[in-house]
């Protein structure tokens, strides 16, 4: 009988083989391929989900150059546009659209409220520019108080897109209030203002180039 020097691990394996021979056979060489595939698929899927979540967290608001999707926007009572209490973005093709996100609990919004209304008054008669105010996550009473306080006359409504059944702010991926989005005559986003305007000149500076 040839005496073979076994390494300890080898000897153990051999004994295990003998011991388990009488019982139900268990996989001996590594993990079966199909189990490995499942494990890797699961890990990859998990990481994919986290990756997408990460990408979402990293991306900012909708950026200039993007074509803005059509939305249908309900107006508050007392506000109307062209005799209707709803605004559809596609109806406004050929005009400059300014969408301003605000809230009554937002202190910086108050800084620009007067400027926005004054700017609206300037452009209203020519009919080439439409101002839309979207009230972000607000309470109806306080929103009313805010609008009356600053005498806002341009169309205002709750932040909701009825066409896609989602908040308008979700589509624009706003990061806070106030934010203002300038959309040109062809429906393409041209400029994003994060934070309040400090003067009416700033507003004019964004609208005038788009009117040409």
């Amino acid at each position: 009988m040839k005496i073979q020097r076994l390494k300890p691990s080898q000897g153990l394996n051999k004994i295990e083989n003998i011991m388990t021979e009488s019982s139900i056979p268990v996989p001996r060489r590594g993990v079966p391929i199909w189990i490995q595939i499942i494990i890797w698929a699961f890990l990859v899927g998990l990481l994919a989900i986290v990756a997408v979540g990460l990408k979402r967290a990293q991306e900012g608001t909708v950026q200039p150059g993007a074509k803005i999707e059509d939305f249908t926007f309900n107006l508050f009572q007392g506000y109307e546009h062209n005799g209707q209490s709803q605004i559809k973005l596609s109806d406004l093709r050929g005009k400059v659209v300014v969408v301003n996100f605000w809230a009554s609990w937002c202190k910086p919004c108050e800084q620009e409220a007067a400027e926005l209304e004054a700017a609206w008054k300037e452009y209203e008669s020519a009919g080439q520019v439409v101002f839309i105010g979207a009230d972000y996550v607000d309470t109806p009473n306080e929103a009313n108080v805010y609008l009356k306080k600053f005498g806002i006359t341009y169309p205002n409504g709750e932040d909701r897109d009825l066409q896609h059944e989602r908040p308008l702010s979700q589509y624009f991926r706003i990061k806070g209030v106030p934010e203002t989005y300038f959309i040109d005559k062809n429906g393409v986003l041209q400029y994003v203002q994060i934070g309040p305007f400090s003067s009416i000149d700033q507003i004019r500076a964004q609208i005038d180039p788009l009117l040409k």
Binding site: M1, I3, Q4, L6, P8, Q10, G11, L12, K14, I15, I18, M19, S23, I24, V26, A103, S104, W105, K107, V137, D138, T139, P140, N141, E142, E158, P167
Partner: protein, 160 residues
């Protein structure tokens, strides 16, 4: 002790109600107390702040929402209606639990049961059929240490 306590509480209630009587007169019922508002606000999350329940959130916005709850309660709205209103206007994220509870609870339950099942099957594959052979259980560990015995056993087996 009994009747003076009742008087005390009645006075206290009047005082509390008087303290809360700040806004215009409500058409129906007494002003809901802070506790009434909190009972509902506790189940909601601030739509703007991160992971903060509505009853503890200190911001101006949350204050407005709590007052909104108070108004709605005074109008006679039920708890379910108020929650519904919040979900409609601010999204499902204001609820403390996802609306689709089935998926939320089902997935971990299935995963756990699956894991338990796999383990149990693996255990069955291991389990020695006889549990009364205490003698053999003790002999085997000794045999483990001697590779020559194993070699011998193998040779003997092959001879059979």
């Amino acid at each position: 002790m009994g009747s003076s306590r009742i008087t005390f509480y009645a006075l206290l209630l009047t005082l509390i109600l008087a303290g809360l009587w700040t806004g215009p007169a409500f058409a129906q019922g007494p002003t809901p107390t802070d506790n009434d508002v909190n009972r509902i606000a506790k189940q909601l999350y601030c739509p703007v702040c991160e992971s903060t329940p509505l009853d503890v959130c200190p911001t101006e916005a949350c204050r407005q929402w709590r007052e909104l709850i108070r108004t709605m309660l005074a109008d006679g709205k039920s708890e379910a209606e108020i929650k519904q209103y919040f979900v409609e206007h601010y999204g499902a994220r204001v609820l403390a639990e996802p609306p689709n509870r089935l998926v939320t609870y089902l997935v971990p339950a299935v995963a756990i049961l699956l894991g338990a099942f796999i383990l149990f099957r693996g255990f069955q594959l291991w389990l020695k059929p006889s549990t009364t052979e205490a003698g053999t259980v003790e002999q085997e560990p000794k045999a483990l240490q001697d590779p020559y015995v194993a070699r011998l056993e193998e040779e003997l087996k092959n001879r059979k």
